[in-house]
């Protein structure tokens, strides 16, 4: 019986090739989309969970009371880790480590600039990376050692044994390779290619020694003995700042390592989610797309009902029970699902490298993992049942007498149900179109928002190696300006688009008690404001004509929060020294363009800067300019590759998260629409079949092709329009919720809604027309003859 059912199912599929193709196509795209999204969700969900004891491992956040609310960030003083380990019972390990930063590492012949982290031995105890060579117990203790990842070891030493070989850090420190670890999984928050001892960090930055409790310079991570100690320990740790530095108003907060990536947003000192909402959205999207594909399947299968009705009637009178018929239809739907699944695998394997590149992820189908197989089985079963059950119950319910008597319309018409299903599909599709449009609108809005400086034609050169030397920057500046490719050059203490360098240690006349404010602080050389082309509101830029050693610039926000009436010329206190404000700069964006600008103070320093900022001359040919710049930099600093980057590119990176969301919404929204259209095509096929006779009669009575076409399309247009109306309020809620995450947001206009209506209507009528043109043009005799 089963074999015959299978055989008949196959014949049926073969006979209705276009139906089968539409069906399998829709199903496979749905399944593939669903699986890729689920892989992505699994990947994001697995962030930082590779480590044995991740459950007891925490990141220390600093909550700072700004007076109005609290800001939270995972930056801490270097003194915190030892203090925690010494004073808090239940703390097993506590580590201080730097945030990943690119350093130059070389083997004497080749050098590479790649990410390094300075950390201590406890760091390795908590994040138990896989050691391929060397001993984790003793690693990172001696000052002149380094741990490489497998890839970097290979790059530096090829197939030779890297252990005990020497490498040179920043062309300066000679280090011995003491261990090699496996490459880090991409879904690990801390990304580096080599690990350096914390002591080396301290040696390289001697000022750190007396940085004290106010300097938020590192990441502190700790591990507790077990979960039970969490309550007591977190209570004690909360007030650790107060005990060490009573006037700071800071609190320490334990944030689980496993939540670091997905729950990174803090409001008023509490974790309020973050990327998790995006992950949840994708999870939901995965099932919605699958559901849409299932709906499609139902639509198409029941659309064939006219054809299947006779078979059902006959089978019933020769002794088939309803159950047997249901079984037969379910067999058919599983067959289709499995075919769809096979095609889905091909689609996934073909598209996953593309998605990985797009999303910067490391998604793979792990064929050796039983959980993925179980998930797959469940998914197949789910799809087969959802997709197959409605057609099975619907078709098997036909009463033989009605069918066999030739009363045509078998059983109750399934059309209303099908219309509802199509509306459901298009509600979803329209929502996705609206959301996608708003995401892109938001990105563009933020991009077009004035950022306060001119980032076009602005280049940064990392000052490394010899460029760091005394007087070298001055030389560089002179030579660059001489080439004529550059109109202005200034030094800056940090790449313009990089975060970090924040401090509280600024006081001014009239500052309230406990009124510490978090400032972004930077150091800039002469002509900085001129180079980046930011606006000066009051006062002046740093200039070689003055002695600016004890002078600072403030941004507008700083002046506002400090409440200074006459900022220029005022004396304020920065750390232990007094400085004079010589200029006020219009706010310019150096951190997230989505958020309000922090107050910023810029001190003057022409040495020890991280980057040189170059304004390229617009009159010069770009590649010429670059060649000239490279020549100058190489001349001064021969050992290093020239590290230059356009500020524009750096700025683009700030949109990665939103772009990613946009891409996913775009792609999968596209798929959803495509699948929905397949469903619509199915419905159109069905309608055309049902109305063949009516149309023929109308044609005999004199209706033109256009009349028929509009008659057929009208109903569908109505369905799609209704779907849009339902989608609008839903999409509005979703979109406003998403936008509320941003300080600056594009106003919600009618455009996305009109776009959704227009796109869905156009696509839908095109789809339907494929079918209705055929019907409209057909010869009426063909249909009437058989009545």
């Amino acid at each position: 019986m089963f074999r015959l059912n299978l055989k008949i199912a196959l014949r049926n599929l073969w006979k209705n090739k276009s139906f089968t193709l539409i069906n399998i196509g829709g199903l496979s795209i749905g399944l593939a989309s669903c699986m890729i999204l689920l892989l992505y969700v699994k990947y994001e969900w697995g962030y930082d969970k590779q480590f044995t004891n991740y459950k007891n491992t925490y990141i220390i956040y600093t909550n700072h009371d700004t007076g109005t609310d609290k800001t939270s960030y995972a930056w801490t003083p270097a003194l915190l880790a030892p203090e925690l380990k010494a004073k808090i019972p239940g703390v097993k390990y506590a580590s201080h480590s730097s945030y990943p930063e690119a350093h130059l590492i070389g083997n004497g012949e080749n050098s590479f600039k790649t990410n390094a982290v300075f950390a201590d031995n406890d760091f390795l105890k908590m994040l138990d990376y896989k050691f391929l060579q060397g001993n984790p117990d003793q690693a990172l203790q001696k000052v002149n050692t380094v741990i490489l990842t497998a890839t970097l070891a290979k790059r530096l030493f090829g197939n030779e044994d890297p252990i005990n070989r020497s490498v040179k850090l920043d062309n300066q420190d000679v280090l011995k390779v003491e261990a090699v670890i496996a490459d880090l999984p991409k879904n690990s928050s801390i990304q580096f290619e080599y690990l350096l001892p914390w002591v080396l960090f301290e040696n390289k930055n001697p000022w750190m020694k007396d940085a004290g409790w106010q300097a938020m310079i590192c990441l502190t991570m700790l591990q507790l003995d077990d979960e039970k100690t969490f309550g007591a320990a977190s209570q004690l740790i909360k007030s650790i700042y107060e005990r060490s530095d009573p006037k700071s108003g800071n609190e320490a907060l334990l944030h689980p390592l496993s939540k670091w990536h997905l729950y990174a947003d803090f409001q008023n000192g509490k974790s309020v989610g973050g990327k998790i909402s995006q992950v949840k959205t994708f999870f939901l999207l995965a099932f919605c797309i699958l559901l849409i594909a299932c709906v499609n399947f139902m639509n198409l299968s029941t659309a064939k009902s006219e054809k299947r009705a006779k078979e059902v009637g006959v089978r019933k009178v020769i002794g088939s029970t309803r159950k047997m018929l249901i079984a037969q239809f379910i067999v058919e739907s599983f067959l289709l699902t499995i075919l769809g699944l096979i095609l889905a695998f091909i689609l996934i394997e073909a598209s996953i490298p593309y998605f990985n590149q797009l999303l910067n992820t490391d998604l793979i189908i792990d064929y050796t993992d039983w959980t993925s197989w179980t998930a797959l089985m469940v998914l197949t079963l789910f799809t087969g049942l959802i997709a197959g059950s409605y057609p099975a119950f619907f078709l098997s319910s036909f009463e033989p007498v009605k069918v066999l008597k030739g009363f045509g319309k078998a059983g109750g018409s399934s059309l209303p149900v099908r219309k509802i299903l199509v509306v459901f599909q298009f509600v979803f599709a329209a929502c996705l179109i609206i959301c996608t449009t708003v995401i892109y609108q938001q990105i563009n809005y933020i991009k077009d928002k004035p950022i306060g400086y001119n980032k076009d034609n602005l280049m940064e050169i990392n000052l490394v190696g010899a460029l760091q030397g005394e007087g070298k920057f001055k030389l560089l500046k002179e030579q660059l300006l001489k080439t004529g490719s550059v109109t202005s050059v200034a030094s800056f203490s940090r790449s313009i688009n990089r975060m970090g360098q924040r401090a509280f240690n600024i006081s001014w006349p009239g500052k309230p008690k406990n009124g510490d404010i978090l400032f972004n602080y930077r150091f800039a050389g002469y002509d900085f404001i001129k180079t980046i082309d930011a606006g000066i509101i009051m006062g002046r830029d740093f200039s070689a004509n003055f002695n600016d050693e004890k002078n600072v610039l403030l941004n507008q926000t700083a002046v506002k929060v400090m409440g200074l009436k006459h900022p220029v010329g005022s004396m304020i206190k920065w750390g232990d020294g007094n400085v004079t404000i010589v200029g006020v700069v219009k706010d310019f964006v150096i951190e997230s363009p989505f958020e309000k600008t922090l107050p910023m103070i810029i001190g003057h320093n022409d040495n020890n800067s991280a980057v040189a900022v170059l304004r390229l001359s617009p009159d010069q040919n770009l590649s010429n300019s670059i060649a000239q710049i490279d020549a100058v930099v190489n001349g001064i600093n021969p050992g290093f590759p020239v590290e230059r980057k356009f500020v524009n590119d750096n700025f683009e990176e700030k949109f990665n998260n939103e772009k990613q969301l946009g891409i996913v919404a775009n792609w999968f929204g596209g798929f959803a629409i495509f699948i929905s259209c397949l469903g619509l095509l199915g419905l159109a096929l069905y309608m055309a079949e049902q109305r063949k006779k009516e149309i023929s009669i109308r044609k005999v009575l004199g209706a033109s092709n256009i009349n028929i076409l509009s008659l057929l399309n009208k109903d569908f247009i109505k369905l799609v329009a209704i779907a849009n109306l339902i989608a609008f309020p839903a999409a509005y809620v979703i979109v406003s919720k998403w936008l509320s995450n941003y300080d600056f947001r594009v106003p919600i206009t009618l455009i996305p809604f009109c776009a959704a209506l227009l796109i869905s209507l156009v696509i839908a009528s095109l789809t339907v027309s494929i079918q209705s043109v055929k019907v409209a043009k057909s010869n009426p005799v063909d249909a009437l003859k058989y009545e």
Binding site: K316, I318, G319, M324
Partner: protein, 229 residues
């Protein structure tokens, strides 16, 4: 084997009852060959459908092989289909996706006949109907007469006690029609299968042993056919 007592059938449409069958009482014995005749719309098909339990009468009593059909559940009815009743339709109603052999085999599958037995029975029937060469063809590759032969073969293969045929030759040319009638007569006489057919043709009715004349839902005449052939 079949007892109809006072069968009534009407459709209520906006409170107006339109009667299809009125006071139909009849008794058909095992081995009879009955033809139901009458003008179009007289209720012939409805009567046959009631006999085949495809429709339920509004009133009246129907006994099939001593069992009261009105109180029969779905399971029992399917059992009757499997073991006692074979249908033959004017439009043949073969399953298009199945070959000739598979169409014939289908009722046996539902009856859960063993594989070997199925094979031999299907082979038997094919042989008898001279269709061995066509067993792997699909219905649309056959002529109307051939399709109806397959339809009859399918009705027969489960060895039913009664065959219900609604205008079995309605779509056929007269030569083919006569072939089918010959077959019915042979089945009736040699195997004792009860046959009830609806027909418009006096000639076809002549093959049977008894004619029920139906007019506006009422049996007007119940005549026994003189066996001339």
């Amino acid at each position: 084997m079949i007892e109809l007592k006072n069968i009534e059938k009407y459709y209520a449409n906006k409170g107006v009852k339109s009667y299809i069958l009125r006071h139909v009482t009849a008794s058909i014995k095992q081995g009879e060959f009955v033809s139901i005749m009458g003008p179009s719309g007289a209720g012939k098909s409805t009567l046959l459908n009631i006999l085949g339990m495809l429709e339920e009468p509004t009133y009246g009593q129907y006994e099939f092989m001593g069992e009261d059909i009105t109180s029969l559940n779905e399971r029992k009815r399917i059992e009757l289909y499997r073991n006692h009743i074979g249908f033959v339709f004017q439009a043949y109603h073969l399953i298009d996706e199945m070959t000739v052999a598979e169409n014939i085999e289908a009722p046996l599958l539902y009856k859960k006949v063993s594989g070997a037995e199925r094979k031999s029975r299907v082979a038997d029937v094919l042989d008898r109907f001279n269709m061995v060469a066509k067993k792997d063809l699909f219905p649309n590759q056959l002529s109307g007469g051939q399709q109806q032969l397959v339809g009859i073969a399918r009705a027969l293969v489960a060895q039913p006690s009664v065959i219900l045929a609604d205008e079995p030759t309605g779509n056929l040319q007269s030569a083919q029609a006569l072939q089918i009638m010959d077959l019915f007569k042979k089945l009736n006489q040699e195997e004792g299968i009860t046959i009830i057919q609806v027909t418009h043709s006096e000639v076809n009715a002549g093959y049977g042993s008894r004619i029920l004349h139906l007019l506006d839902g009422v049996i007007k005449e119940d005549v026994t056919v003189e066996q001339t052939v």
